[in-house]
């Protein structure tokens, strides 16, 4: 089998270290063939093996009474009652989206949807977390705008055609992402407890069946590309990006769910990264079996493909399944109905080997466990987290707070993202009770009285200042979003986007962030059921901000959603959690400092998790009891931005504060654990807060058309609602089409 083609150059080109190659030699007891080397390189890539993070990911809490399936499968599964379960996960497509934004983002959506329906769940919601360089950057703005437009239309193209609503997400612009945008896609599906399928090749002698699109040369080595830094040569990797076909995926969804109902399928897995390779060896490894395939049987789109190319192809919209021997025809009938290829390409064996044959010749013969479970694990050295931001910054010296507020509202991060989310079908399947722009997205589960709420959040700025505290703040924020919508947070998925883990100061960011995630998820009782790690997010040696993105799901009774906006004049406005007492350093990571000073310094806001939890319990109680008329949490931009957002339904506020804080801090600090509610019975809200040991203050009343904020009789902000809403509404389109280059 060995052909002596394996030179040190070939090993390096496969991004395998000398030590890793030695490990391959000892696992095989011989020199690998080129096909085998390719298979190892993909399975042992960072993308597939999590080799740099696995030792730390073990620190995450993964269990609770709700968790039916934790990490390690295609997606996590949570029980939501009534015999119903949800599967959800997040995945990144950062590198492909930079090289080819439209297809990169589109196939990112396709990949995560397959992770969900391969488990038997029908996808009912998608959210996206996307990050780009600044749209108004003189040097890179044009490219950043092109990437944003491409990514958004790619997501729309795939999700809209497939028929899954894109119900929320976040979009951030930061210089740090200009050479390395982030595209993280979250998907959630629903099924009954008895409809769950796993990626296991059980039953020796059972047929291994290939279904879906034909195999082509696209995407070869995508997983290894996703595990490397960007260089000037990256552009040459464009053919590594796959092309998505959402209609094919829709057919695959319906056919798979229908075939599962026959009872003839024993295991199924999508062909994601490294397609045929990962699906065969992982299904075999999980079941402790072997898988033998004959590549001549694989449906092919191109002629003359080598075994190496077929095993490494990342052609989209393909699945591998194992059926009960003798019942294959039941599966074939369903796939034929949907007009899809379904072909037996192999058989489950008892020898634990992945054996790849082509026209009778064995091209690879590797123990499945060696590929799936014996990947190297590194406890990479870590030092202190990389930090480039200074401890202190310029003084806060505002001359016009109303102008500052308008500048914040029309900044890329805080402005309305309507231009983006109107391109997504956020209603298809008629379950969307709260969609984009809401506190948290809410989809109902038809046939039950339960709805699922979900929130997706990240904050690279906080994490650049302190990855541990920043990550905890993100978890708190997601849980607060859900609680403010009336939902009880129950489980977490996460996408860890970082730079090169071989640099100790980057590895330190990763370790700190994972430990912060573990601590917060433990405290807020939202175990982690899965996720994704994207490393080497660096271009020409410059890493992105450490950017963990957290998706948390929760449940609530199916009802009309609590509004975020002030519903009518004359209501008392109550701030739960208090005005806060931040130190100056805590301003350095805020949107105020980003917009007004264009800088980053200091520390993230302080989080008292016990206090946060009490505030969340209080608001959830109030929202569920309908003791409030609206609820909105304070996030980026602080109190003033939250008040403005609440007024965009046309009803403003007359706010009277009593604080000794500098005005910039009072209005714009981003201290967590604070929520604005309105009510016509303030005494009920105040007593509920008192019962939960939460500070609550009536800070004003709602009124028509104007937002006025006073502190001790000094007017800080005074504006017509329309004058705040106008810039907020138009900013993104303005940035896209008429950027003012500075």
């Amino acid at each position: 089998m060995s052909t002596g083609q394996i030179t040190p150059e070939v090993i390096t080109a496969h991004q395998l270290s000398t030590a890793e190659y030695q490990k391959i030699l000892s696992l095989l007891g011989r020199e690998p063939s080129l096909t085998e080397l390719g298979i190892f390189s993909v399975m042992w890539s960072e993308h597939c093996s999590y080799k740099s993070t696995r030792v730390h990911l073990k620190k995450l809490p993964t269990e609770s009474a709700h968790v039916l399936q934790g990490p390690g499968e295609n997606a996590g599964i949570i029980d939501i009652g009534d015999g119903i379960a949800i599967a959800f996960k997040i995945e990144s497509h950062n590198h492909p989206s930079f090289i080819e934004p439209f297809q990169g983002a589109a196939t990112g959506v396709g990949g995560i949807l397959r992770d969900i329906f391969t488990m038997g769940a029908r996808p009912i919601a998608v959210m996206d977390s996307i990050r780009f360089g600044r749209l108004d950057d003189p040097a890179t703005g044009a490219r950043n705008r092109r990437i944003l437009e491409g990514v958004v239309s790619g997501i729309a193209h795939y999700g809209n055609c497939f028929g899954v609503p894109t119900v929320g997400g976040e979009c951030v612009f930061e210089k740090s992402y200009q050479g390395n945008p982030l595209v993280n896609v979250f998907a959630l599906g629903v099924f009954k407890h008895n409809e769950v399928f796993y990626g296991k090749a059980t039953g020796v002698g059972n047929p291994v069946i290939y279904v879906g699109a034909k195999t082509g040369r696209d995407g070869i080595h995508g997983a290894s590309m996703a595990s490397a830094e960007f260089t000037e040569e990256s552009k040459q990797k464009r053919p590594n990006v796959q092309v998505g076909d959402p209609f094919m995926e829709k057919l695959l969804l319906e056919a798979c769910l229908e075939a599962m109902k026959t009872g003839a399928i024993v295991g199924i897995q999508d062909m994601g990264a490294a397609g045929l390779t990962s699906s065969t060896c992982e299904m075999g490894s999980r079941a402790g079996t072997g898988v033998e395939i004959d590549l001549a049987q694989v449906p092919q789109r191109e002629v003359g493909m080598t075994p190496y190319e077929m095993m490494l192809s990342e052609s989209q919209e393909r699945m591998l399944l194992v059926a009960t021997k003798g019942r294959e025809h039941e599966v074939f009938t369903v796939f034929k109905k949907w007009g899809l290829d379904a072909t037996q390409i192999g058989v489950v064996t008892d020898d634990g080997m992945l054996r790849v044959k082509h026209h009778g010749i064995v091209f690879a013969e590797i123990p499945n466990r060696a590929l799936a479970d014996e990947a190297p694990r590194y406890n990479r050295p870590f030092s202190k987290p990389l930090r480039t931001a200074p401890e202190t910054g310029q003084r806060l010296r505002s001359t016009n707070l109303t102008a500052d507020l308008k500048a914040l509202l029309s900044s890329g991060d805080l402005c309305s993202k309507r231009w983006i989310w109107e391109q997504y079908d956020y209603q298809v399947r008629t379950n969307t009770i709260a969609g984009p722009g809401a506190e948290a997205a809410i989809v109902r589960i038809k046939g039950t009285n339960t709805s699922v709420a979900m929130a997706l959040d990240g904050n690279g700025r906080y994490c650049a200042l302190d990855p541990r505290e920043g990550t905890k703040l993100i978890v708190a924020e997601c849980c607060r979003n859900l609680s403010t919508a009336g939902a009880l947070p129950i489980a977490t998925t996460n996408n860890l986007n970082f730079g090169n883990p071989e640099r100790p100061e980057i590895m330190a960011q990763i370790v700190e962030s994972i430990e912060g995630l573990a601590e917060a998820c433990q405290f807020f009782e939202v175990p982690v059921t899965g996720g994704n790690v994207s490393l080497y997010n660096e271009t020409l040696g410059t890493p992105i901000f450490p950017t963990p993105v957290v998706g948390i799901v929760g449940t609530l009774p199916t009802e009309l959603p609590m509004p975020l906006k002030f519903p009518k004049p004359g209501l008392s406005i109550i701030l739960l959690g208090g005005l806060g007492a931040p130190e100056l350093a805590e301003m350095g990571g805020t949107q105020y400092v980003k917009v007004v000073q264009d800088s980053l310094w200091g520390t993230p806001p302080k989080l008292d998790m016990a206090h946060e939890k009490r505030v969340q319990t209080t608001v959830r109680e109030l929202v569920r009891a309908k003791a409030v008329s609206s609820a909105h949490d304070l996030g980026e931009g602080g109190l003033a931005v939250a008040l403005a957002e609440c007024s965009f339904g046309g009803v403003g506020a007359d706010i009277r504060l009593d604080s000794a804080l500098p005005h910039e801090m009072l209005l714009f600090h981003e201290g967590p654990s604070r929520i604005l509610v309105t009510t016509d019975k303030p005494e009920n809200v105040l007593s509920a807060a008192q019962r939960n040991n939460v500070q609550a203050t009536v800070i004003g009343v709602t009124l028509e058309l104007r937002v006025t904020i006073r502190n001790r009789n000094e007017i800080l902000i005074d504006s017509a609602v329309e004058d705040l809403k106008g810039p907020w509404t138009q900013a993104l389109e303005h940035l896209l089409h008429n950027p003012v280059l500075v």
Partner: protein, 225 residues
Amino acid sequence: MKIGIVVFPGSNCDHDAWYAVSENLHQQAELVWHDSSSLGNLDAVILPGGFAYGDYLRCGAIAKFSPVMSAVKRFAAEGGLVLGVCNGFQVLTECGLLPGALVRNANLKFACRPVELEVATGNSPFTHEAKKGQRVTIPIAHGEGCYIADERVLDQLEADDRIALRYIDNPNGSMRNIAAVLSEQRNVMGLMPHPERVADPLMGGTDGLIILQSLVHAGAAASRS
């Protein structure tokens, strides 16, 4: 009242229409697979939204040749009620059951949002429960919803009172703000907005019921006569 909902492989609003008919209107709903050459015993047919056969070529261009559309054409020729929503509207124009065509939105982007509409005629099985001039809010979700036809056809549609709904604030560049048109016999209607998405108060509105209930009552009356 039994309403058939045609399912092309790429239909994705078929479940939504099914749910609105059975759960919100409490009528019998039946899914009809695209390769059926007969519709069976139905009182009305809905062609739902989606991407019939992927629509990479041109929306509805392949659906036109499907066995089920031959059956739908026969059903319509016999006076059966046919409602095409979004992709269903595109399929109806491709098949020649309705005049005109639907092309890419003027701004070339997919748009999902509630739009305000004016009921332009109450004289149809799909709008008889509304008054002419009444305003309703129903969401759109399409990339190719710009209605075009030549001037002669548009004049004829107006002369025949066959424009059923018009956009108040045109979202896609449709000629003469047309959102829905009727066939000559008035038993076939296509519209770009999605009435099935606002048939349940939980979805933020119920204006879609005006159209769906008109259809149900017209269908019930027809099957009695």
